[in-house]
Each structure stands twice: as C-alpha cells, then as structure tokens.
C-alpha cells in the first residue's frame, strides 16, 4: 500500500488547504523544529485512527488541533484526506472535525473504495485491514521512540508483550490464532449436535443428557475464562498506561525517593542530637567536680602519703615485735625452730636495721581514710572531657543536619513542578492493578483446571455415543466431521508454533542483512532474535554485545523494522520522524543509502541539524521529491517543493 495523496486543511500549523501528491519512492520533508514535521505524521495517524497523541503520549484536544489563524478567522473545523493505493484498489479516507459552540462532537470518517462510499460498519474494518493501529508503530514512527524496541530484550515487560503482539500481527500469525479459535467453536457446535442426536435416540438418552450437561458446563466455564481473560487484559492495560505515565517522571521519582531518604536522615540526626544533648546536660550537672579537682588534688596526694607512711610504720612495728619476741624466746616465732648463735646474731642485726616506730606513727588514721574517700569522688570523674567531646559531636551533627536540609530544599525546589498527587495516584493504581492481575492469574489457572475436568467428562460421554453406533448414518457423518475438526485443530496448533519459529528465523536473517548494511562496526557478525523478537548484537567471537549505545539501539531498531516490512503479510509506507537524532555521520549515511530499499514508499521527516544538504547529496538520485516546510508566521507553515533536485 502507498499513499498517493495527503491533504491537510487547517490542521495544526497547516493553514488552509495544502496537498502533497505522492507515488512510490523516497520523500524527504525538511523543516526546522516547530514547522510541522511531527504534525504531518500525526495528521496521517489522526485520519486513520481518530486520535492525536503528543510526544508526552498525552491526547491532544480537537480544539488545539485547529489552526490558530483559521480559528481567529472564524473557521470551526479541520480535516485530513488520504488517498491510498493497495494493489489495484483505490481508497479515499477523509476525517473531519467540527468544533461547535456547544462542544466537540466526534470526528467524522468517510471512506470510498474504488469510488464507492463505504457504510459506517465497513469503514473501521477497512482501516484495520489497510493498516491496523496496533501495527502502525512499525510504519509511522518517531525516531526518539525507536529505543522502545530494546524492551523486547526483556520478555517480561508488559510493553514488550504488546509490541510482540503487534509484530505477530504484521507477520500474519493471527490467521492461525483465528483458525484455532474458529475450529474450537465449530467443535463445540458439533458436540452439541451429537449430544442432541443421542438424546433423541432411546438407548442413548441418558448419555446424551450427560454430554449436553457437560457441554453446557463447558460453555459456562469458557465464558468465565473469557471474562477473566478480559479482566486480565484490562489490568494489563492499566499497568501499561500507568507505566507509560510514570516513565516520564522516572528521574523525578528517583529524586523523590532521594528526598524521602534525606528527610528520614534529618529526622535521624535530630534524634541523635537530642540524645547527645540529654547526655551533655547530665555530664554538665557534675562538671563542678572537675573544676574543684585542681584544688583538691594536693590534699588528696598528702592524705595518700600520710596513709602510706602510717601503713609502712605499722609494718615495721610488726616486724620489730616478731624479731624481739624470737630473740626473747630463743625460738623463731614464724617457723618455731630454736635459734643458734648465728641466728641470734643475724636477728640482732636485723633489729638494729629496722626503724623504731612511735605509737603515734603506727596508729591507724580513720579520719584520713574518710577524707580521702570523700575527696576521691571529686577528682577523675571525666565529666568535663565528656562535655567537650559531646559538644564536638553536636557541632558535627548540626553541620550535617544543615547540609542535608539544604540538599532537601534544593530537591524540593527541583520537584516543585512534579504533579505529585497524580504520580502517587498512578503508582497506587498500578500497584493495585498488579495485585488484581496476580489474583486473576491464579483464578484463570484454577478455571482452566476445572475446564479440563469437564472436557474429560464430555469426551467420555461422546466416546460412548460414538461407540454405540445407534445414531445411524447421520451420527456417522457427525462423527467424521468431529474427527476432521480435531485433526485440523491439531495440524493448525502444530503449524502455529512451527510457523512462528520459521518467521523468527526469517526476521533474524533479514534484520542481520540490513544491520550489516547499516552498521560501521566490522566486528559485529550478526543479530540474534529471542522469543519476543528482541534482537541482540553478536560479535565476531560469537559473544553478545552488552551495553549498546543509543545509536546502536537505533540501528538495531531500524533493522528490525526493515525486516518486519520485508516479512509482513501487508506492507505499507514507512514514515520516519527525526530518526537520526542519536546517530554518528557514518551511520547516518548508511541509513540514508538504505532508505529507498526499506519499503515501497518512504518518508523522511528531518531538520537541517539532523541531515544536511551535503548528506542528501549521497541519495539525491533516489529522492522522488524534496519538500520543505516553510514558516510564514508563528501560526502558519506552507509545504513547498524544493527545486534542488
């Protein structure tokens, strides 16, 4: 499919009616920022799907989509018209929006197929057939969003599951899914007929009733499971939407966590400070003792010496008394041995050497003991040192608290514009949806188990009916139809897995081929695909390249998109908005050279800083037309054809 004409009327920055006549090949649409490149991409999206999402993934209100100059002049509506060619079929798709004073009615979609208008019911179906919204991300895309494809490498991500579904749709897998679904429905109908027929036969009446009962239970169980699956999809949608919303505040949320940690730290420091202050007050209560210590110390020393001398005198007196008694008794009072002349002479010398002690000197001094005990309590308490130490700690804590408070204040200032309530609300909703999803998955598993039991009962009843052969030719025909349905179901089921594997190999092969044309790294040998169609770069040593740069990521994503287009059941125009933002000049040139091979019709929406005229020289021969978005004033852009061909 290609776009043969695009007409915008008072849409966004495009004032009045402006038209691009198009054919197959490469189109370059050049314009500085704010000239309407993304608006053109959104005009196509809006004409097909009826909604316009801005870069922050927020829906844009119709009143904002109307050109401001046109609004000032009293115009109350805008429209986009696409002409498409699919093989030999021509389609005209026109969406228009009227803004009335009473409010904003829904936009109107009008479609002609080969000149004949389609009914309302056919219109949405035709759009889905031509380019369903689920797969449009592979055709109409913003270069900045190419990094989303990295999510495919993480297969648990909800977004990656959504992209995977889109990829499988574009590759044609829903044909097999639908066939399996339809065959199961046909089998159910045939089951019912078989049971009805059995019930009408006298000898099979009871087993027929059992089969009908089991079928009816199976229907209810399947309806329950379908309801649960619907709820599962709804919860996944909520998670996906909240994740998308929260993603834009990711860094702010990180800062919020830092702020919470800082606030907690400040509280902790305050608690520490209060404890230290209490401790300090306690020490301060006793610090007078340390002040008096200097005056008391000489007196204490004097008392200690006095008591020491008194102790020594008592010891000397006791020794003299022992020696004197031994000499007097002629026998050692310690060991009890008799003294000979030598011993006596030795003891006499000892007696002369021992000092004579007066009674006063040897008398115990209880007063000095009491005084020393009292004065000792005053000295060596360490209260003053403790106060000094605590003052130092308090100063350190105070300065840390101040620093943390300043840091928190700066963060608070930075987070001022964060819609905190909305973010908190979204987080809560996401968490609740995650919990509900968990419960639903358990319920689905349980329901599936119960369904298995019912199916067993149904199968046993059917086998009984079929073995009896009591239903005659009609029953035989029904049995053959059932067998055929079962055979087909098995074949389609097996084919689904095999076809998916084959498609993955085909995508991997083509993506590798494209990647090798786009990359400037000779050490990369191929791309390897995973179950979710995520692509890893493999180097010459057959090792996975880890830590890919944003530029490499973009090249891999473009290779995937090219491979999908090549292997898709339905092909469409590729429109890329600012795809070169993260690429170096060599990659840029490689991609420019490759563009005309990417699809039958390719649109490149670029600004001068991204692709220069020099760059375009490389591909001038393959450019079908070069348009420029010229700014007339702040509210008007005109599309002109550049004559530099």
């Amino acid at each position: 499919m290609i776009i043969t004409s695009l007409k915008v009327k008072d849409f966004g920055i495009f004032y009045g009616s402006q038209q691009l006549s198009l054919g197959p090949g490469l189109y370059v649409i050049h314009g500085r920022n704010g000239r309407g490149k993304t608006t053109l991409l959104n005009a196509i999206r809006w004409s097909l799907y009826g909604h316009y999402i801005d870069r922050q993934r927020r829906p844009v209100a119709p009143v904002v989509m109307l050109n401001r100059q046109a609004r000032r002049e009293g115009t109350n509506g805008f429209s986009v018209e696409l002409r498409l060619q699919e093989g030999s079929d021509q389609f005209l798709i026109r969406r228009s929006q009227v803004l009335s004073g009473a409010g904003v009615p829904p936009s109107q979609l009008y479609i002609e197929h080969n000149g004949y208008p389609l009914t309302a019911g056919e219109r949405e179906r035709v759009v889905t057939q031509l380019l369903s919204e689920r797969v449009s991300r592979f055709f109409l895309f913003d270069g900045e969003q190419l990094q989303n494809y990295e999510l495919l490498l993480s297969q648990e991500e909800t977004t990656s599951q959504m992209i995977k579904q889109g990829i499988e749709e574009i590759l044609g897998l829903p044909v097999l899914d639908n066939a399996l679904f339809d065959l199961a429905a046909v089998r159910t109908e045939l089951n019912r007929r078989l049971a009805r027929q059995a019930r009408a036969t006298q000898q099979l009446q009871q087993v027929g009733m059992r089969a009908e009962q089991a079928q009816s239970e199976l229907d209810s169980k399947q309806a329950d499971i379908a309801g649960l699956l619907e709820q599962q999809r709804e919860q996944e949608r909520i998670i996906r939407e909240r994740d998308d919303f929260l993603q834009q505040y990711e860094s702010s949320l990180e800062q919020m966590k830092n702020l919470e940690a800082l606030d907690a730290k400040v509280v902790d420091l305050r608690t520490q400070r209060d404890q230290l202050r209490e401790e300090r007050a306690d020490h301060l209560h006793h610090v007078w003792r340390d002040i008096l210590a200097a005056a008391v110390e000489p007196k204490v020393r004097d008392l200690q010496q006095r008591l020491e001398r008194s102790e020594q005198a008592r010891a000397a007196q006791a020794a003299r008394e022992q020696v004197q008694r031994s000499l007097l008794e002629g026998r050692c009072v310690v060991c009890g041995r008799d003294l000979d002349a030598d011993h006596e002479s030795h003891l006499s010398e000892e007696l002369d050497r021992l000092p004579e002690v007066t009674e006063g000197e040897a008398r115990p001094d209880p007063e000095a003991v009491t005084q020393l005990a009292q004065l000792s309590r005053i000295i060596n308490t360490g209260h003053a040192e403790a106060v000094i130490r605590l003052d130092r700690s308090l100063a350190e804590i105070g300065s840390e608290e101040l620093a943390r408070k300043q840091e928190a204040a700066q963060l608070r200032q930075a987070l001022q514009n964060l819609p905190e309530n909305e973010v908190t609300h979204a987080q809560r909703e996401r968490d609740q949806a995650q919990q509900r999803l968990g419960r639903l998955l358990v319920a689905i598993e349980e329901a599936e188990r119960e369904k298995g039991g019912i199916e067993d009962r149904l199968r046993r009843a059917q086998d009984e009916i079929r073995r009896s052969g009591a239903g005659g030719g009609q029953q035989n025909h029904l049995s053959r139809s059932i067998d055929l349905t079962d055979d087909l179901h098995r074949v389609f089921d097996l084919a689904k897995g095999n076809f998916r594997d084959d498609l993955r190999i085909a995508v991997e092969t083509t993506a590798t081929e494209v990647f090798k044309q786009l990359t400037n790294e000779p050490n990369y040998s191929r791309l390897a695909i995973n179950d979710s169609y995520g692509l890893q770069i493999i180097d010459a040593n057959d090792q996975v390249v880890v830590g890919r740069s944003a530029g490499q990521e973009q090249v891999v994503a473009l290779a995937l998109i090219a491979a999908l287009n090549r292997n898709a059941t339905r092909r469409g125009p590729v429109m890329m908005d600012t795809p070169f933002g993260r690429l170096d000049p060599t990659h840029r040139t490689n991609i420019l050279r490759f563009l005309s091979h990417m699809a039958e019709q390719v649109f490149l929406l670029v600004h001068g800083g991204e692709v220069t005229d020099e760059d375009l020289c490389v591909i001038r021969a393959s450019i079908n037309e070069h348009f420029e978005l010229r700014r007339d004033d702040t509210d008007r852009t005109t599309i002109i054809i550049r004559s530099d061909q």
């Binding site: 429905a185 046909v186 084919a495 090549r566």
Partner: protein, 64 residues
C-alpha cells in the same frame, strides 16, 4: 534483499505430515483461504464459523 518469508500453506502441510494426519484434498487450502479472507473481521467470527463448519461437513460427507 532475498525473500525469506516462510510459506504458511507449506508449514500446514508439513504439520499434517508430522501429526500423521491425512486430510481430504483441498481442505487445508480452503480453510486457510477462508481464514485469510476474514482474519481482520474480529467482530464477525460467527458467520466465519458457520462457513467453516459447512466446509468441514462437506469434506466429511465426501470422505470415503
């Protein structure tokens, strides 16, 4: 670039052989054609299933 896309009908035939299933001639083609024609008509599956059942019953009747 070389065409690498696998053929769905061939995949189905190979799956039938792998399953050891012998299907009436033309049945796979007919079912696949029907599903391909109607694959985007999510809301109209009831009619598709009636057509599919008719196809199956016809082949069952023609079977020897």
């Amino acid at each position: 670039m070389e065409e690498t896309r696998p053929d769905l009908l061939e995949t189905l035939r190979a799956a039938a052989t792998e399953c050891g299933v012998s299907l009436p001639e033309g049945l796979l083609e007919e079912v696949l054609r029907l599903e391909k024609e109607t694959t985007e008509q999510d809301g109209a599956r009831g009619m598709i299933q009636v057509r599919l059942r008719t196809v199956l019953e016809r082949h069952a009747e023609e079977a020897p």
